[in-house]
Symmetry: C2
């Protein structure tokens, strides 16, 4: 509950490594300037990161007149991290080096009717096995941790999936199922927080004090990166912007409420916006969400008037709901992320910016920019791998001495590595 | 932008003093247990607070078998703090000891047509002069700072009132006007943040990780106390919940938007709810907001059916808007504050709790409680005085040695003490 000295040391460790990943090689002096930490604190933290073998010394640079400065860089030939993105129809895994470059990818299909916890866990184990095999002979020994993103309400401390609406899971100890087969520290969270952490470490929220990551997919949510860290809330469920009211007594929502943001700007909501404008539009020929959003994007590019109206209509809803986030939270940046934002792209961004300019208050509006996510790969597996990286950094303080293998750091969910 | 080592030291200083104010006398060991900080860190911080003469040594307690433990307590005979609450029709000032007990109060009227900046500044100077005079002969020498709460958009760093809608002020350097006459460090912010800081230090948000202070007055706002500190946003304007959308295309709002939360649950909004239910209700006899809300509260207490309907209607709007805060932020507590909440009290609280239970998502709902503010005095002047206390603690790190008078700490707005 309280922010302890250990929390602060961990946050500083995040901050310094984030900066080294962004700019490598770099000196302790540059790190102190970039992070606002004292040189002494940076020197201590760099020492810890060297002990953990996350970074390495790479020589010296001249400093005008003074002693040469030691340079450090991410150790890309050192440890590896795995991120797993579980979705309704697939399990996707990626293996990263410590610079968070993708070294291997694998995907397993989740067939309808094959979504029991043991079955999905099996697909995760298979996907992780594939990326480790593809990454080469010594990869298994280098894996520092596996982050798993699972849609739904998850308790990251107990590593239990409390509720997953798609598959009707309740209280599934997913990581326990995985730990029998995966001899790595395991970390569980959900895609909204994975995308937010990815933006915070590698994307548009990096170095920003307060950012909101607006996830637009089938469902929608708003990941909150406040004060340079992820705001989780008291029970790790902050960000349910999709279930805030935009239209009191409006469209019914699967959450049991009415007029939720999600029913207007999630993929099914956008299809409904289109249907209300033009019930027989050829854009609605497919019942498939992805195909419809793709068709809408193509029709917008071709200046189809119905498609442009549907885009503007959606942007009007989205602009009002994003204005609410801006007025309430006064963020430095709002990032549009996930597949609907990626597919509707610049035209959606333009219309949303215009709608927000009409609706948000002057002072917070002037302080905010709205951008598309700059992350070129799957932000969910990247963010999931980042949870594993954060786990390594968190556990550093619990070690008895330097050089101990970081995998001992995972606290509760995993049996000793087999 | 970044959280520097100095920010962290300041936050820890807040945390330790907050705990000493809550439980005095107390030992360094108890403080370490309560704050989660190490004993060494607590010992350093206690030393700083002793040097600043904010606390004092008050003896020893036995510790079973060990060495006696030194006890410290707030030095209530030491420094004094002043909080000023500027409102549309009055300027209210209170002088506090360091335990934040009220030692003196004064109020000046702001007459219609007498609200130019120089006139209001004159009333503030008069009110501060009165409380200092009432507090006794040596009070002036003990004042460590004056916090001023001004409704509107304020830039606390430049100490400029950017916009105050009531009086049409734009870019008024209020503290510069005051500094000519008040030889104390001065601090400016607005009532929403004052109330939130008051709850954080002395009220229902104390010791909570994440809290939302819902201010219900003529205007409404939501002060955000996240991670144990005030969330200000990137340009100090977070909390404009009153201007988030509850009903898309709903009631027109003075901000230029439509369907803002404020138009349904601010005092004029509640009057409109009542008028829509019963256009000729005797409860609407007065055009005065305070009188109408008082009449509504009395009629609810007497089980008047129209009043009960109006209360439920208001609670339905308020419940939906508070559910949005709970779903988005996942706070530990939601505090209902300001005069409308105080007057409608328990009956409003009951109806709001019921409305939220119908609307919020299960997981965040289960983690949240909704309470009335427990602060018995004016939270705005208490919060304003707390800004001055925080200023003293912030400036402690900038001193050259112990014992220097804290008043030198105010950075930009005040000429050297005269």
């Amino acid at each position: 509950m309280k922010r302890t000295s250990r929390d602060i040391r961990t946050a500083n460790r995040y901050e310094v490594l984030r900066q080294i990943i962004a700019v490598s090689p770099t000196s302790r002096q540059e790190l102190a300037a970039a992070t606002g930490l004292s040189l002494a604190t940076v020197a201590t933290l760099v020492g810890e990161l060297l002990d953990l073998r996350l970074i390495t010394e790479v020589g010296f640079e001249d400093s005008a007149g003074g002693r040469p400065r030691g340079l450090v860089a991410v150790d890309t030939s050192g440890g590896a991290l795995i991120g797993v993105d579980i979705a309704e129809t697939y399990v996707h895994a990626e293996l990263f080096d410590l610079g968070l470059n993708v070294l291997a990818r694998a995907e397993e299909e989740v067939r309808p009717g094959a979504s029991r916890p043991e079955q999905v866990a099996g697909q995760v184990v298979a996907a992780v096995g594939s990326v480790v095999a593809r990454a080469g002979a010594d990869a298994a020994g280098r894996v520092l941790g596996v982050g798993v993103s699972m849609p739904g309400q998850v308790d990251r401390d107990t590593a239990v999936v409390e509720y997953a609406a798609n598959w009707g899971w309740r209280d599934v100890p997913l990581l326990d199922l995985l730990a029998e087969h995966l001899p790595y520290p395991l970390y569980l969270d959900n895609p909204l927080r994975a995308c937010t952490v990815a933006e915070l470490w590698f994307g548009a929220a990096r170095g920003r004090s307060d950012a909101v990551v607006v996830n637009l997919g089938t469902g929608v949510g708003a990941g909150l990166a406040l004060g340079g860290g992820l705001h989780r809330g008291v029970s790790n469920s902050a960000g349910e912007w999709g279930h805030t009211t935009l239209v009191l007594d409006g469209r019914p929502c699967h959450c049991g409420g009415q007029g939720c943001v999600e029913t207007y700007v999630g993929a099914p909501g956008i299809m409904r916006n289109l249907r209300e404008l033009s019930p027989h539009s050829p854009l609605l020929r497919s019942a498939d969400q992805t195909a419809t959003i793709d068709a809408l994007a193509a029709a917008v590019a071709a200046n189809d008037p119905v498609a442009l109206d549907a885009l503007r209509d959606t942007a009007r809803y989205l602009g009002a709901a994003i204005s609410d986030l801006i007025n309430l939270l006064n963020p430095e940046v709002v990032v549009l992320s996930s597949w609907v934002a990626a597919r509707l792209g610049e035209p959606l961004l333009r219309e949303v910016r215009a709608a927000v300019a009409r609706r948000a208050l002057g002072r917070p509006l002037a302080a905010t920019e709205i951008v598309l996510s700059p992350i070129p790969t799957d932000p969910v597996s990247l963010g999931a791998a980042t949870f594993a990286l954060e786990g390594v950094l968190r556990s550093a303080g619990q070690r008895t001495g330097p050089g101990t293998a970081p995998r001992a750091g995972h606290p509760r969910t995993v049996a000793p590595a087999g």
